[in-house]
Amino acid sequence: MTVDSSKDLHTDYLEVMMGPSHPAMHGITQIKLFLDGETIISADVEPGYLHRGFEKECEDHRWNQIVPYTDRLNYVSPLINNVAYVMAVEKLCGIKPTPRCEYLRTILSEMNRLTDHLTCVGAAVMELGAFSGFLYFVKARELYYDLMESVTGARVTYAWTRVGGMRWDIPEGFEAQSYAAIKETRRILKEIDGLFTKNRLFLDRVVDVGVISREDAISYGITGPFLRSTGVAYDVRKADPYAAYSEVEFEIPVGENGDCYDRYKVRMAEMEQSMRIIEQALAKLPKGPVNVEDPRFIFPPKQAVYTTIEGMINHFRLVYDDVHPPKGEAYGYAEGGNGEIGFYVVSDGGNKPVKCRVRPPCFTIVAALGKILEGHMVADIVPIYGSVNMIGGEMDR
């Protein structure tokens, strides 16, 4: 006797809340899923759990005091945020940093790009079950955290740039340590490549998963590795070279299909390019001061503060009043780990910004996430979300 059980089966759509704190998703975001079986009919992404009023706080602080806040945006590559922010203010002020400063910003930005990509890919493979893979990535990342610590004194929150320069020069022996770290990273990346790039288990989860078309990606405002995986070779470092990027040679790796696997490959290839940039920039590193010699922006040397009246006044003025960019507006942007990070600053001539808007690169990607997820299975959320590299600090500000 056969029983027709199809009439008893529930065929309603199921509403599932994934997150806000889900073990297989890094970052805190809620995804409201409508499921037909295991297939996603629609997904509504709700961010905002890490919102802490970045822009409001900026409007209450002086220009140089905002630098530590920018650390907390994309906290896996804070120095790129520092650089992008001071670039916007320097653009408004019309000052150009010294050549040594430009090179050091380039070198340290690339080190942070490495930490960003290592964290992103490492966390993505960990969420797919390859926990040991994560340890390889973190091992390489630790090399750069140590290097950054030797320069800035902090492992994650650097606050290292200033309007018109930066806090310190690099310590002695930094070059040799960097070369050693790069050599070690190349070895680790080769191991990682052997672990994942042709791994059957990994390919099954990422190939042709999370595809986005070139036109859609541009229309959503997506930049960075996510856009380059679709085949668009847009990189701020090449398109509008800032710092010392016009003086070093590197390539922009692009993908073809715009799926999770292409994003993995683009990130892996970009790490090699970053190391190339660091090597070239270290070899060419010019001598000279790291700060512009302009008492409106940079503290005078201590000798001058104690012996001359001008030095004393300038020091006092900078401590009490900070910099005063001219009235107006400027949009400064740099290539962050996730894409174009931009700062739109408006000044009324005072020592606090009227507006300090940050254009977060992963915001646009997460905005497109709902559309990308449609038609996929629930399990595909994990690799797709991993390849987005959603950083809560930057996304929710």
């Binding site: 961010p47 905002g48 919102h51 009023g53 409001k56 653009k91 229309s219 254009r359």
Partner: protein, 185 residues
């Protein structure tokens, strides 16, 4: 940035362009609020600025009398030529609304949602204007200049079931944890 694009916008919409300037290398056009959508449609479809970079607003509360309070700002990039442009429009406090540009760029929606909750600017004909970063019950618009930085938000009322759990006096709770902890039966 693109000076040609600014000239083309000026030639195409001579009465809509209120101001055009180039400061720190950024080309900027300020247009009338009523022609916001038409100008941006021209910028998107004819001039080819296809990458939606950013949309935000600025609150000029302390500005001289008579000038509209808000300014909505859009940054765009042309992926073919690599040029950039900034388009702005002034929005008065009495009627804080402007046409939505969601039909032109898919990415515009989330930026408009954020701008809506932070500044209270209404984007007309937008498909979705729910809160994005703030919670639903949030009162006021935090990025407006007249919203104090230390403003506190009212507590969200508890549900009836939650009310019962929290209504017990603090000294009657086990281990002195204060209200909220339930006794084990």
């Amino acid at each position: 940035m693109s000076i040609e694009a600014v000239e083309k916008i000026k030639a195409r919409f001579p009465e809509a362009v209120e101001e055009a300037h180039r400061q720190a290398g950024d080309d900027t056009v300020r247009v009338q609020r009523d022609s916001w959508f038409t100008v941006l449609q021209f910028v998107r479809r004819v001039l080819g600025f296809d990458l939606f970079v950013d949309l935000t607003a600025v609150d000029y509360l302390a500005r001289e009398e008579g000038l509209p309070r808000f300014e909505v700002v859009v940054h765009l990039r042309n992926m073919t030529t690599g040029k950039r442009i900034r388009v702005k429009s002034r929005v008065p406090e009495s009627d804080p609304s402007i046409q939505s540009v969601c039909p032109l760029w898919k990415g515009a929606n989330w930026f408009e949602r954020e701008c809506h909750e932070m500044y209270g600017i209404l984007f007309k004909d937008s498909p979705d204007l729910r809160h994005l970063l703030l919670y639903e019950e949030f009162e006021g618009h935090p990025l407006r200049k007249d919203y104090p930085i230390d403003q506190r938000q009212p507590r969200i009322p508890l549900l009836a079931s939650e009310e019962r759990r929290f209504s017990r006096p603090a000294d009657e709770t086990p281990h002195g944890h204060g209200p909220g902890f339930q006794d084990k039966p």
